[in-house]
Amino acid sequence: MRLLALAILWCGSSLFAQDYFPENAGVKSKNNNYTAFTNAKIYVTPTTIIDNGILLIQNGKVAQVGASVNLPTNTVIIDAKGQTIYPSFIDVFSKFGVEQAKRPKGGGRASQYDAEREGFYWNDHIMPENTAISKFKYDDKKAKTLRDVGFGVVNSHIHDGIVRGSGVLVALNGSGNDANRILDDQSAQYLSFSKSVLKKQAYPTSLMGAMALLRQMYSDAKWYGAGNANTKDRSLEALNENRDLVQIFEAKDKGNALRADKIGDANGIQFVILGGGNEYERIAEIKGTNAKFILPLNFPDAYDVSDPIAADYVNLKNMRKWNQAPSNPKVLAENGIPFSFTLNDLKSPAKFKEKVLKAIQYGLPKTKALEALTTTPAAILGQSANIGSLQVGRQANFLIASGDIFDKSTTIYENWVQGQKNVINDKSQKDIRGNYDLSVAGITYNMTIRGEISKPKIEIKQDTNKLKSKISYANDWVSFSFADTEGKNYRMTSLVTKGSDNLKGKLILPNGNNTAFTALKTGAFTEDKKEDQSKTAVEVMPVTYPNLAYGTKSLPKAETILFKNATVWTSEEAGILTMTDVLVKNGKIAKIGTKLPEGNAKVIDALGKHLTAGVIDEHTHIAALSVNEAGHNSTAEVKMEDVVDNEDINIYRQLAGGVTTAQLLHGSANPIGGRSAILKLKWGETPENMIIDNSPKFIKFALGENVKQSNWQSFSRFPQTRMGVEQVFMNYFQRAKEYDTKKKSGVPFRYDEEMEVLAEIINGERFISCHSYVQSEINMMMKVADKFNFTVNTFTHILEGYKVADKMKEHGVGAGTFSDWWAYKYEVNDAIPYNAAIMQKVGVTVAINSDDQEMARRLNQEAAKTVKYGGMTELEAWKMVTINPAKLLHIDERVGSIKEGKDADLVLWNDHPMSIYAKAEKTLIEGVVYFDIEKDQQMREAIQKERSKLIDMMLQEKAGGGKTQGPKMSKKENMTCESL
């Protein structure tokens, strides 16, 4: 408060009185004087540094800067000898001064499907019309916490909703008013994938829904902007108005950064992206976005692993994250990706310096750190001409520091904002750090003062005994106290004078008597070892693909492999071939035969072993970040391909069960679900590389209890009965047909992603995989398809398929079913394990699927159950997890059997592949060995080694006084059809 008063006193009111405002508190007067800071080291920019220069400011701006500057006569000169001047820092992702949305308390979980607002976009989470300025109130108390750590300007916004509207650029100038400090009231537009906490509209419930919503929104804005709508939409109008602003996307994760960038690219927008701190894990693609990044500094604390039992709950992934995350800024810098830092998600601004220093300790060059706080954020906001440097004409926002700002012991003295001085630490305060002989009551103690000049720390020793001691130092007075070996307290205070380095003053003895003490300075301050530690390089564990247990340091490559003398299950007419060789070359099955020449192939002795095509799972939900978009009863616009999680450990586990390909299906929350992703389980690869090339187009449909919402308390969404389910399909297909007709007629039409997808179905370009149970609904679905002249491709689950197998055959639909599931809900009362066998005998193409991460890794056994239930031959049974699902997925030309020319997706089993005793020893996809049982053993050992190394490092961190967090385990839920 006193400082603030001082500042106001110094500048008077003139600078901030608007020229044309009447003055009633006195007479009008102006202060056009200059202020010069001389003899300082000046960082005009992070790379333009004047070692001994002058900074001249006037009216809140930089007037001149240089090694020598002619000072006008009306200049107040401040000698800054030995001090360093930096541009003040900028945070582009702040909440400062802007009232934030708070989640309302209470309220049920009943879903609300429609928008609340009128005259805005159809989805309440799209709020481009919001402005931070309308919720802005300057808060100098908060501003001070930011100025104290070096910030001068922040861009603040409402952190709520998918489109959040525009931000406000504020100088943290406590002396002025909003007329001065608001630099821009339409500064950047903010977006995210997260819904508003204030709005209850259900859609979107998923990440893929949010993505689809954004795509549709951009398309609608274009259409609206061209004057095609006959109603008013204030959201779309605002979105179009904000189009020229900088667009900042809150991704908070490497994968989401890529997702946002893709949406931006499709709409001619280059987002600036708020990162998640894990960008280093996929740095090449992050670089490929060409985006500027805003990086968080909230590096995780070490886990407290001192309890070895609890330590088991921390997985290698999270341990590594603690170890690797502080190197994220360094990795981005190395890759030439521009980034700024933000205080967002940091517990307190007071942590800021510690975290930046940590990034530097992990290899971030100081110049890059300074850029991340000054020129880059200014450039992100398009404000380089105004802030972020100390070039002439820029705002006079700068820091005066005791030295290198990225040195632990450096003190920020002052943070000037818009030419207004804010004292952080009194720079006239004398440096009293050093070693002293302290004489108290006839005894001499060893006293060391260290730490920061303004916040010194004290250590008092009697011989080698460390005594409990305290120090405080402010306004030229230093007070300290200690307890002697008997616990008796001695208290002292002394005025610090310029004249002498010694301290002397009043001493109060334990008995209350007043006397005097002296402390004779014996040595200058030197940084202690502990502080030096922060400068030593740290061991950072190598990133693996993916970056968790069982990831590999480099991606495996396709090999030329010759399997010798195997029992080969072809899944073709050829059946089972004994003592047969299979040559794998260039990712394909090059040759099948006997006594094939070895050439340069790696030879694998497969005598007594069984070689099969890779298992194909028609129905999975592993490797997905979301499964259902449950916000609408039709969500054809969403894509599982948008949310592939290539870091799911289940991918590896399923490779260990011989699975090579799987259809990642949308869930069964709605009659019309989302589009599928057909994946090859290429562990370590990016989601894009896992999606099968030239993927056939699929979509999930669903029938029955799940879409009727029968098994939970939900009574508001249509349909609630199987009768209603038919009506949903009839209505949507009719509309899609009309949409397609209109589109093809050349008449202007509103692009509707959902209708586009449904039209693809009618036009035979996209296949339906339909979740189904009872015969009535199965029959109904086929009849709906007949009406619109298309064929249902697959019924998945299809547990009563055996009751209508003849009709299914006639329609031409295939079946992907469970081997033996039933009794878990009412509609599976008549589910029987003989289902697959009956349908197969009638002539339906049948696959056994999983819908379950556990069952998926034993699909070979699930196929074997059809031998028990219904007496299938082993050959036919094996086809149910290889060539049959390949046929259902329209990829049987490429995979599903062992045939020359097909993809080398192969499994080597140690036993009959359908034996309960069989283990997969090697699993290949396109000639690349993605699972090898011997390598798996080596990885187990490596994981244990790395874990114990990281645990040691964390124990050391704790012992060194580092902050820790309790052990915990991030765990994925078992995803099934019903997962939200």
Partner: protein, 429 residues
């Protein structure tokens, strides 16, 4: 209107269920039966090739090579005979259809309710129970679920007119779900998903130990007013009943067993035991048998070996512990896969007969019914089945006969009937 509809649905279900009753229970064994030429898996780790098994009045009277044949002879040459497999800690007969609340009788209100008894709710006409039999699962421990102490179980055989006839051992044990030191994040309340330290763990442990101490004290005195919960625990102090402690973590296993022992409980069985392989010495010192979680599970931790659930029973058994397999966490219908859970361990290198033991002799020992069940021994109940081949493998687990107390039970089910009905429909075309 909606509500009424749901009531109708429930009523419909109840009537529907009773309309499709189970196969009629077989009558008492009236004549001697002899099985010849079989490979007999005794259930104690041994095997008798070309074995003759004779049983009369529900009991095995002779078993071995070259025993004299009597009565009806079943030629089982090339086939395999096993003791009926036993399914511990299941809600079989308590839940018919998981999602239909009206058909669920497994979880009573209340946290500590040892006095709640499963037997009287056991539906001996359950279609799900009936579907166990064609896979060789003939006995089950019907067990209440939920809460801290969920109630008292009973052991039944799967071919009976009513629960009274079904009972093999009434009120055999009490089921205590030990608190977890880590708990799942309630993501729907804004907590992150995954596991977090359970801050209430110590408090929850206190509640259990206080209850056990009070139950013990109650037994020692002459209480004037009956306390049903305390009274229900008395069998666990005098050894009449077993205490089944469900725990998976290292800490939980050690805490649970130590504190229960300290409270004076004598017969303790560990259920679950995911981390049991890390505390083998402790389990051995305390002589604790383990009803280990079934093998068809994914590992609980990302860093775990992919095959840890597959080999867990072997790890415990190799160390010399008494181990049987249970699938308490799975849906009822899955229990027919019990033989395959055991087969999976064989793939990890366990001897086949040891795997069979984990469904038969060991289980009977752990459940305390080994005097009458679990192995093919003279004097024991003729509860056994004949399979065309290896019963632990899906392809060859094909039953030709099953006997419960010597009664030749039906291997038909609701499912086989539908199979036949629809097969005939298509064949008729």
């Amino acid at each position: 209107m909606k509500k009424i509809k749901h009531i109708f649905l429930a009523l419909f279900l109840i009537s529907a269920t009773s309309n499709w009753a189970q196969q009629t229970p077989a009558g008492e064994q009236t004549e001697v039966i002899t099985i010849t030429g079989a490979t007999a898996h005794i259930g104690d780790g041994t095997i008798i090739e070309n074995c003759t098994i004779v049983f009369e009045n529900g009991k095995i009277t002779a078993i071995g090579t070259g025993e004299t044949t009597q009565g009806t002879i079943i030629d089982a040459s090339g086939k395999h005979v096993y003791p009926g497999f036993i399914a511990p800690v299941k809600e079989l007969g308590l839940i018919e259809v998981n999602a239909v609340r009206a058909s669920n009788d497994a979880d009573e209100i209340g946290d500590i309710i040892p006095h709640v008894r499963s037997l009287i709710a056991y539906n001996s006409e359950s279609k799900v129970v009936e579907s166990m039999r064609p896979n060789g699962v003939l006995i089950g421990q019907v067990t209440p679920k939920g809460g801290r102490i969920s109630g008292t179980s009973s052991i039944v055989q799967f071919d009976a007119w009513n629960w009274e006839d079904a009972a093999i051992k009434v009120d055999d044990g009490i089921h205590l779900h030990w608190p977890s030191s880590f708990r799942r994040g309630r993501w729907w309340m804004g907590e992150p998903r995954g596991l977090h330290p359970n801050k209430d763990y110590q408090k929850q442990v206190e509640e259990v130990t206080t209850f056990l101490q009070n139950a013990a004290a109650y037994g020692g005195g002459q209480a004037k007013e009956l306390n049903p919960a305390f009274a229900a625990m008395q069998g666990t102090f005098d050894g009449r009943q077993k205490l089944y402690i469900y725990a998976d973590g290292e800490k939980e296993i050690i805490d649970g067993i130590t504190l229960a022992k300290n409270a004076g409980i004598t017969q303790i069985v560990l259920v679950g035991g995911y981390s049991g392989y890390k505390v083998i010495d402790f389990l051995k010192e305390n002589d604790i048998p383990v009803l280990v979680q079934f093998t068809h599970n994914v590992p609980s931790f990302e860093d775990d070996d992919y095959d840890l659930p597959y080999k867990l029973p072997k790890l415990l058994s190799d160390a010399g512990l008494l181990v049987a397999i249970q699938n308490g966490d799975a849906s009822n219908f899955q229990t027919r896969n019990l033989p395959f859970y055991a087969g999976q361990v064989v793939g990890q290198g366990l001897e086949k007969e040891k795997a069979v033991q984990m469904l038969t002799g060991n289980t009977a020992k752990i459940l305390g019914i080994d005097a009458t069940h679990g192995t093919l021994k003279v004097g024991k109940s003729a509860t056994l089945f004949i399979s065309e081949g290896d019963a632990l493998d899906m392809r060859t687990n094909i039953l030709t006969h099953a006997f419960i107390d010597g009664r030749n039970i039906s291997l038909e089910t609701h499912q086989t009937e539908l199979w036949k009905r629809y097969s005939e429909k298509y064949e008729g075309k």
